[in-house]
Assembly symmetry: C2
Homo-oligomer: 340 residues x 2
DNA sequence: GCTTGTTGCGGTAACGTTTGCGGTGATTGT
DNA sequence: ACAATCACCGCAAACGTTACCGCAACAAGC
């Protein structure tokens, strides 16, 4: 059983003894076509289950109704919720989504984007890789007139549409919360300084300390942003553990791993050291003690990014005005910081 | 700044004063073309950054080098790892991936698949929705000659390519493990009976009980497959809690929620009731007690499914022979079942 | 000299769709 | 009765690419 020929407009035209253009117009209710002809065409079309060939359409109109998602890692609660939000909005608006994970590789980011350009994607939703150092493939999108919305991991310096969380403010809120619980010597687990979000969160952290008249100790800032990184750098954390009474981690899983490490070393959380995370995955209520964090709405961010992209694509105007939507994270205090 | 015209083969032909067919052949090193012409064409092509138009190619060859992923929910650790595996293999093989989540809706499953057919996707990777009751849209794929590999949630009765976990055996292993720890009255948290996987797991559970000479008590089988479902059915679980000494949950998050519920009601895990889950997400080592489970290799399953699909697509032969790859889950005993 | 073969390239059609233009036959207006 | 209007439809080109066929030029073989 070989590939059965998908029925085309020409087939309909042939069996009805009319021209392809008439069929095309009849299908889209063009006023030039008589009611009778329309009826015949539409009936036959639906009875043979005619479906327009999207490739031909895309070729003709240079519009594919497809958008590309470029994301560092799919297996990440935050990112997967973002994708989910994107996909739901896209589906309801009649767009298809192409997905590429870069695995934090710049080279893969470049080639994936190029692939999608080759497929004549209508627009991009991008969260840039941690290791991307050259940004020409991203700036080129703008000069090529392809609409882009960056989310979460945006591209510094490049004017663009953005959907981000207020990382600075979120970190400030988190740190302030620790201070309000009586912490005075607060450490911070951070990520690669190349990422804007980690810089912002660090700034929020130091700002909150200064505002409270507390000293910023560089030894208290450790670069570790994952379960693995904590384990690899456990000695650093253990070294400062006796001195500190608070810990702000750049994300939840890092916070949780730190808590487990500290607990195993005899520290009581939150009595000895209060710990707060960032992101609010599904983990926070499952661990013991439950993890305080600042909530990041991934689904909403994805949905909003998709809506923004649709606006950009459908406005027709490119490159004129950029939008930025900032989501302010919300403090979710739980047991891991309850000291009062 | 309007859309800059993407450079085409015709453009190259025009500036070089040769025909489009020559350019096309020169680009793919056709023997008919002289070395000199090839050199000129290839040099110009790369200097103006020529990229073939995938839509035109797809239209011409009815092959898009794109595959479609249809999945119930993205925000699910297991599924996101599967997607990750798919995407990595696809990327390395030069395929693009289109993604659709059905949100467990049959209607959305149908229309997403139809959308992707309209885009002339080369093949499908599908995990069917929980609520799908009619399967014609899936059987049609076979008659349309479109290669499909089902993974995890396969389509019963429909002969097809499959990548699955041995749910029966996994459940049997899990239940046996509870028995080996001295449990005699073991309850089971299950999912919608329409899903093959839940039926298989239930069968594995009852089989293990019977093999050990233990009685199967229908009251001990509760339909609850998520955090929310447990909370909604908490009274049922609490009712049987005094009688049971073991619990096998259909997935990890259900197991964890059950543990928390039981703990709040004064039960000690694993002393009073030993609990085991299924799936091995990232949660198992984070909770206290750490959760015993049977490990499901999502990434490998995705990768294998993609490889199988590639074989099917590139063999050219459709519909002749179907493959099935079964992954046997591995017991991961942790604290939640340690009674001996 | 004529055939045969080779090398290198161009023309055309085709994939499926849309669209501007034009053309037919019939109806209307004067 | 003649032009103007109208309703309805077909032609052909175009989107970018490739496969098939063919053709010119030139070399070689007899």
């Amino acid at each position: 059983m070989n590939k059965p020929h998908q029925v085309t407009i020409k087939d309909i035209a042939r069996t009805l003894g009319i021209s392809a253009s008439t069929v095309s117009r009849a299908l889209k209710d063009h006023p030039d076509i008589s009611a009778e002809t329309k009826r015949q065409v539409q009936q036959l079309a639906s009875s043979v289950n005619y479906r327009p060939n999207t490739l031909a359409l895309g070729l003709r109109k240079s519009k594919t109704n497809t958008i590309g998602i470029v994301i560092p890692e799919i297996v990440h609660h935050f990112f997967s919720t973002v994708i989910s939000g994107i996909d739901d909005v896209a589906y309801n608006a009649g767009y298809n989504t192409m997905l590429c994970q870069t695995n934090e590789s710049e080279e893969r980011e470049r080639s994936s984007i190029q692939n999608m350009i080759d497929m004549r994607i209508d627009g991009f939703l991008i969260s840039v890789s941690k290791n991307t150092t050259q940004f020409d493939h991203l700036t080129n999108l703008a000069t090529d007139g392809i609409p882009v919305v960056f989310f979460d991991r945006v591209c510094e310096g490049l004017p663009s549409n953005r959907v981000i969380t207020d990382d600075f403010e979120g970190a400030r809120i988190a740190t302030r919360h620790l201070i309000s619980q009586g912490c005075k010597r607060i450490a911070h687990l951070t990520s690669a300084s190349s990422l804007i979000i980690s810089k912002q969160r660090r700034d929020g952290y130091t700002t909150a300390l200064r505002e409270a008249g507390l000293e910023v100790n560089p030894d208290y800032i450790i670069e570790a942003d994952s379960r693995e990184a904590i384990i690899a750098n456990s000695d650093k954390l253990i070294t400062i553990a006796p001195e500190i009474d608070g810990l702000f981690a750049i994300n939840d899983s890092t916070a949780i791993t730190a808590i487990q490490l500290l607990q195993r070393n005899g520290y009581n959380i939150p009595r000895d050291i209060a710990v707060i995370g960032f992101g609010d995955g599904p983990l926070t209520e499952i661990v013991s003690p439950t993890l305080s964090t600042v909530e990041q709405k991934g689904y909403e961010m994805g949905a909003e990014a998709m809506r923004m992209l649709i606006r950009q694509m459908e406005s027709g105007i490119i490159n004129t005005e950029y939008e930025t939507r900032v989501f302010t994270p919300i403090l979710q205090p739980r047991e891991s910081t309850r000291r009062l």
